[in-house]
Symmetry: D2
Amino acid sequence: MIVVFKPDATPDQINQILTKAEQLGLKTNVSEGVERTIVGLIGPEEVLQVTPLEVFEGVERVIPVLAPYRLVSREYQADNSIVSLSDDVKIGGEQLHVMAGPCSIESLDGMDRIARQAREGGATILRGGAFKPRTSPYDFQGMGEEGLKILKDVGEKYGMATVTEVMDARDIDLICRYADMLQIGARNMQNFTLLKEVGKAKKPVLLKRGISATIKEWLMCAEYILANGNFNVVFCERGIRTYETATRNTLDINAVGVVKQLSHLPIIVDPSHATGRWGLVAPAARAAVAAGCDGLMIEVHDNPKEAFSDGGQSLVPEKFSALMQELRPIAQAVNRKL
Amino acid sequence: MIVVFKPDATPDQINQILTKAEQLGLKTNVSEGVERTIVGLIGPEEVLQVTPLEVFEGVERVIPVLAPYRLVSREYQADNSIVSLSDDVKIGGEQLHVMAGPCSIESLDGMDRIARQAREGGATILRGGAFKPRTSPYDFQGMGEEGLKILKDVGEKYGMATVTEVMDARDIDLICRYADMLQIGARNMQNFTLLKEVGKAKKPVLLKRGISATIKEWLMCAEYILANGNFNVVFCERGIRTYETATRNTLDINAVGVVKQLSHLPIIVDPSHATGRWGLVAPAARAAVAAGCDGLMIEVHDNPKEAFSDGGQSLVPEKFSALMQELRPIAQAVNRKL
Amino acid sequence: MIVVFKPDATPDQINQILTKAEQLGLKTNVSEGVERTIVGLIGPEEVLQVTPLEVFEGVERVIPVLAPYRLVSREYQADNSIVSLSDDVKIGGEQLHVMAGPCSIESLDGMDRIARQAREGGATILRGGAFKPRTSPYDFQGMGEEGLKILKDVGEKYGMATVTEVMDARDIDLICRYADMLQIGARNMQNFTLLKEVGKAKKPVLLKRGISATIKEWLMCAEYILANGNFNVVFCERGIRTYETATRNTLDINAVGVVKQLSHLPIIVDPSHATGRWGLVAPAARAAVAAGCDGLMIEVHDNPKEAFSDGGQSLVPEKFSALMQELRPIAQAVNRKL
Amino acid sequence: MIVVFKPDATPDQINQILTKAEQLGLKTNVSEGVERTIVGLIGPEEVLQVTPLEVFEGVERVIPVLAPYRLVSREYQADNSIVSLSDDVKIGGEQLHVMAGPCSIESLDGMDRIARQAREGGATILRGGAFKPRTSPYDFQGMGEEGLKILKDVGEKYGMATVTEVMDARDIDLICRYADMLQIGARNMQNFTLLKEVGKAKKPVLLKRGISATIKEWLMCAEYILANGNFNVVFCERGIRTYETATRNTLDINAVGVVKQLSHLPIIVDPSHATGRWGLVAPAARAAVAAGCDGLMIEVHDNPKEAFSDGGQSLVPEKFSALMQELRPIAQAVNRKL
């Protein structure tokens, strides 16, 4: 932590900070510049996070030096983490994994048809929502447990691992009985109650980036999960909110590289939400693989015109399979398999 | 709902939409322009929200005409709503109400000292967090029920109504026993599970704007609460996330005027979070009152240097009282009382 | 300037920075922390701005300590600057000044009618564009010199100072012959060629904030003008671009307080562009005065239905006069005159 | 253009719009819904762009239907445009082209060394700034004409086409004598004076996206150039400003797909500015090629520690060559050559 003083700070004001630091068990380093005095505080920064040094008289600015997260960082673990959903599906290694399926689970028949075709196209993980976070209280809210059963049955039938969203801490046990991976949606990224509880669960967690979350905040939310004991976390970049309205969200492709530098945890990309339009899913998916992601999450529906939600961003199975064909040589070009 | 077709859309493609509309019980109006055909769909737009017309062949764009919310709108209720917290505290009328108190409830003594001074300054509602949404798992997480008791006791002692944040649906009953108003924090604005449950509660709700929520999304979240039976909702503008880093958030002062035009529900402003720096709270609070808000929420702490959270944006009681003095003639200038 | 090293930085890598600093004539202060070494560089930071220390091996991050601007800062000049447009119109003192008029100058008659009514309402500065920055090449581009003559004649007739936009360095001399103040529009805020040239002009400059400019970048653009010899600069906050679409722009009301803290130069607010809708101009204008701005710029047109540009955000003269009545008690409440 | 009326609009108010439309030579289509009346205006929308229909009484909202640009659109020209810089360098076809070189031209020797290595790596276009838009008036402002000579001489020596930024309309003739392509920088994207003048020049134009420009605004700026007679325009996505601070800008990779859908003009990507950190240039460049761009612009410097500007985002020649090797199989995977 570095404390920058105002040009007119008095020695007493500077001493007040030095005394405070001493009380907190920190060492200090005073540097007197031409215009300003700067004090470095040496030691664990956690003790300072609840001490608002910027309210002390004479202080102009406080600059944190250390990242606020630990367990998720490359410094804590240099090697890439591998997150296992099943014997066959391990995210973070050479093999890329693609999660495919409808936005909402709508029926057994529909799920079966879509899963079969997604599997044939090369998807290894089946996705589908049983509890849906809908912006309107009047929209379809999901099939609940019945949907979870469909997800599990269809996943087993086609040899796919499964992932589905958890929105309420009270549903975690239920969902853990049916799915291989718990998804935390973008709107719940900072639902700290939920983060703590999935941190205690025994299933891997897919942590979507909040719609306006910084990468640092996103890493901190993963830290919540790891700090509660669950190290099996996969990040999912799904587009951020910007001023641009030509697409539903702006895919922050830079996030792939940044997360890979800062953390040992895997990161996948969701080009469906990151564009919001099926016609833009393919270039976004290709870009994601080329940038070095560990997998993709893609919405697939065989009848988007009748889909209960997000039909406009779903690929039909034929287009999904064609996209998978396009992705393979790109994966190879970056030394990955698909 | 208006459907704009591509210049090369065929009659068959246009008929496909007309047929779909008929199935949904909607009337249509076809307008053939020089370059494009446009079809207006007449009837309740809800039935279209789950029908992704943009995936039909030949369709270029779909434009919704009606707002997606009903109960919160000025069209549903032309007159301003008044939300009662107690016999004395009614938000939305001529009288402005100020919520003041520390970010976190830290101790009975501290709360008592702060409340007394805030009350003397003119605050009528006591605020304080017992369950805290902290970005770091290593930060202070709140006093829980013990904090709620302190809030209630101190509020009663000084004749103030009380408000505190609810983060978990499982805590609603508990909090309702102690506080007069339930606060939904910015990070939970789209926690639809929580919205539904406070919609069933018998206490007024303070709905903070999500950090990157559009005004339309915010109104939709209030709709969730009203649709579940609770019409006592007050909006709270607390700053939005933008590219500007000189302040913690950007106070969207325009939101006050926009919400007043679109909705009958009251709106207050939180200048503490909207600036993030105590030195900027006063101009932001003055601006909010001048813009026409129904109240303010301000962080007050008598020893910000030792505050457990958000000390940097808290006013000391003397500055709070001075600010209240500044606000009174402005309130009067816009025909309000304070 | 503070240099933070990576945890595994070698002594050689640290020495490389120390040597570089010495070459540049800077003193250094080394602080060895538990996890990282930090080096403070003491002396003028300008020499470092062209030296990318972050590319040196072992360096993790470089943190500037001093603001990059000098002449515009409160440290350079503690007292508020007063910018004179004429004997009667001095911006930055107790008296607030309001610039009013149409977006574009359209005709002598029209300008005369609008100016007369704006003057009666209390405006002291007449605005109007003769050269227009239009987003479409097919839109009206302004009357040019003929418009400037109208501006000057009408301004003199009603005893108002005048302001108009300069878009091209080649027009500066021409505009200086007719107008009292040169406006740099938002789109040209970082047109450094133009900034240098108005820095050499003898007229005051109104520097609008770029649509996505940080406050720091905005201050740096003013620095360009002052560094070229022209200290008569007034800032104009006119809304920034955010994700919110309910308004044309988001009025960053916090900017008033921040600029007042950092700089001695005056700041006014343009509620017309900051909202984009005439129905929202009044609350935004009231908020701006309450926040402590030094004046306003408001679009006024007596027949917005036929206006050549921006009719939707223009007030009719009656509404302008009514707004000025509303603003007077607010100005008084913050110890200003209007 | 579609006009949506308020629920309580009177027949007179609706007739006022119908009459106005008739005066403007437009046909109308009236659709009476359950809650609102909607009127479609049929004919060229240009005549409406200067008529603010939203200020008419009873009007709630005005929705444009047609895109405001024509010449740049796919509807105007279905086939991809090819922009020729020289006999060998044609942007927009199967062959991708990479522009490489230092941010600023610093000396003949330096430019020669960098160009030789960039050419060996596979770059076909040499970049370098002679006039620099620097945010600080105290920074290096470029070598001017001397720099242009160096650019031309070195480009010819190594058989590379050349591109350099033009900041002032008065410099266009000069730059046209030395360079093969005129670059409009992000800060000048909406400098309409400059756009008109390069529209009259005989050289191809590289139009960088403004730092907060929507894709629609960007296309409109190209329209300015085409409307003035110059159809040789190439877009350059260089990152946009968002709230994220981990990178200098956010690369809007979706923009590649969107521009390809809407326009026939080529688009390249600048991963150096879009990330701001050399360590992130490679994944961003790979993503851009995979997304389908027509080329790249990359900053290369053989001694970034001593670069006059933007050293932190420059690749050293070895890393540039390695990146080019990585890009070739990706280009092949998307049916392009590099």
